[in-house]
Symmetry: C2
Subunit: 189 residues, 2 copies
DNA sequence: TCAAAGTTAGACCAATCAGTCTATTTAGAG
DNA sequence: CTCTAAATAGACTGATTGGTCTAACTTTGA
């Protein structure tokens, strides 16, 4: 069973836009990579923008949890789930090399298009809230503000994997992010 | 005395590329914003790429120190200079709203063009080394690795100001980055 | 079996892209 | 003033952009 056309398009567009950016990816590149004619593509999506917004909601959004391995395990405290997730990022080669796809698209599109801004922000907020929940489900020092800590965690992980796309390696990421790990551990009671 | 044409071009290109990105900024936009004819622009720069690379070395590079207010003051310890600099970032509105110009260009261009990658990396390395130097000139706990700590500092600052271009505010940045401040303070002897 | 709907196919379009070219104006040196 | 080089001016080009349109093929349900 071959993959339905629409799904294949979303996969290809996700990959190309992730690496080349929105403006760096042309419809011609997408058609070539998909191996489909133009008519098919515009049958499923009425414009480039609508197509990439579909990638945001149907590819990036549902995979954020998977990317960051934030599946809550009942057996451990929230903060330990989080610590494990931060380390597991190093296992995702694409993520370490190219940075977070949501963050990349955010930087390129949010300043110039409010539809992208809204779509991206809602995913970001969902991720932040999920992390906040994990933190609230942990024994931390009382004066720790969970929401800003969530933001700090996301910021430093995204920052670490975006420092240098080509120089980035698993080892380097682990070294850099070890400081976040240290800090988080120091917040435990 | 009006600003020389070449300098004006660099200023305009810096601003437009900072906000719209490389591929999001057309030569036509640049000409219009500068109010000059095409002949002038191509008299000073032989291509768009060379022009933006000139912006990297003649605008972004010399202003990195200024951006991050990393001017060493003899009177205080390195880490205190650093702590002050991290807070002073909040005073730079553009920086807090749109993120670091070097980081933005890095994410867009480094994966697809090695000339940009090299130019950006060398600036990044210079910044990291400067911060490392400040750290080495500080009384920190002995087991702290200064180089990875520099990377972590840059990563979390860049990450914090890139989280949400339009939602970003001074106050939010300070809240997020307070965790970095806490961590750094905890490393002092 | 046949018509309708869904899908594929790609020629075609106006607008825009980065870049070239020649002509003209301006500025400085002698 | 005169000559030369620098700078300005913008028409023009071929390639590429996102997007449209009609025709044909395939699938589906009656």
């Amino acid at each position: 069973m071959t993959q339905p056309t629409r799904e294949k398009i979303l996969d290809v567009v996700f990959k190309l836009v992730y690496i080349n950016g929105y403006n760096g990816t042309s419809m011609a590149m997408i058609l070539k990579e998909c191996g489909i004619p133009k008519g098919s593509l515009y049958h499923y999506f009425k414009s480039k923008k609508e197509m990439v917004l579909a990638v945001v909601s149907e590819r990036i959004n549902p995979r954020m949890d998977e990317f960051y391995q934030l599946n809550v395990e009942e057996s451990q405290e929230g903060i330990d789930t989080l610590l494990a997730a931060i380390l597991k990022v190093s296992k995702k080669e694409l993520l370490v090399s190219y940075g977070c796809p949501l963050n990349r698209l955010n930087q390129e599109m949010s300043p110039v298009d409010s539809d992208f801004e809204k779509a991206i922000n809602s995913i970001y907020n969902r991720l932040r809230d999920k992390i906040t929940l994990l933190l609230e489900n942990s024994q931390l020092k009382l004066d720790v503000d969970k929401e800003s800590l969530s933001e700090f965690i996301i910021a430093s992980v995204w920052g670490s994997i975006s420092l240098s796309p080509t120089q980035s390696t698993t080892g380097r990421y682990i070294q850099t992010i070890s400081h976040l790990i240290n800090y988080l551990k120091s917040l435990k009671v």
